[in-house]
Symmetry: C2
Subunit: 157 residues, 2 copies
């Protein structure tokens, strides 16, 4: 039980720490960037360990499938529920029970806090993809708290 | 595989972030305190989840055994290797293969960097004990890198 608890709690505390130490500053965008950067480097390190013994990827879709399955399972102990793509460089990953949001209350009133709980994960995926040779822009959308989450990956050419 | 990798990597990045954002400041002691505080709160949250359904602890030694077994396993995927006590409020926990140090090179030249990789863990244990009603001072000693580690818990009366 509680296998992912240390990671989740540490993640929450990092957010707390960054937002608290920047109190008084007007731009909250900088905090999101900091979290995104931390995620980026964790993603880089993680994908290196995970792909150490895997076969070479066939194509981009193959990479995305690896992110949705192995990579996501390693971090969040479950797979991505739904992967969609337009086959032109845009991928949408959907996680119906996203661990880093599940401790927030259900309801629209906390929707505005969602971005800070997703910045790390966006960076995580961007870092992993970057190390696999795919430069990308990763953004996130939350429509229904806490469970529904779209991660939009846009390949940058 | 790599179950604890996300946690380890995030832990490393937090250290990096805190030390980098305090560059130019002379006191590195403040960084250690910050890491210790983050650990404290993670420890508090974690012990709450872990003891949700456990029976009440008999005594202090019973608590320490729980920290060495269940708590340690949850965070580091292994138990503490050796627990010693003088039965007067001092406990020494020894982990012969401590995950958060294992990525550092063997050798004495990095010994001076050990404290920053242990501050979080000291706080973690202190936070857990605090929520179980044991006020304590937790310090750490590293003699042989990277594997040997003593965590000294001193009960404060």
């Amino acid at each position: 039980m509680a296998d992912e608890a240390p990671f989740q709690l540490l993640h929450s505390e990092v957010i707390q720490y960054i937002y608290k130490s920047a109190e008084g500053e007007t731009e909250s965008g900088r905090n999101v960037t900091k979290l995104e950067n931390i995620g980026f480097r964790v993603g880089q390190g993680l994908i290196e360990r995970l792909t150490k013994d895997t076969a070479r990827f066939k194509d981009e879709l193959d990479i995305m499938k690896f992110i949705c399955k192995d990579f996501w399972t390693c971090v969040f102990k479950k797979q991505i529920d739904n992967l969609r793509t337009n086959h032109q460089g845009i991928y949408v990953l959907q996680d119906n029970k996203f661990g880093l949001l599940s401790h927030l209350s259900v309801g629209k009133q906390y929707l505005e806090h969602a971005p800070k709980y997703l910045a790390f994960t966006c960076g995580l995926v961007r870092g992993a993809l970057s190390n696999l040779g795919v430069k990308s822009i990763v953004t996130s959308e939350v429509s229904v708290m806490p469970s529904c989450k779209d991660l939009v990956i846009q390949k940058s050419f």
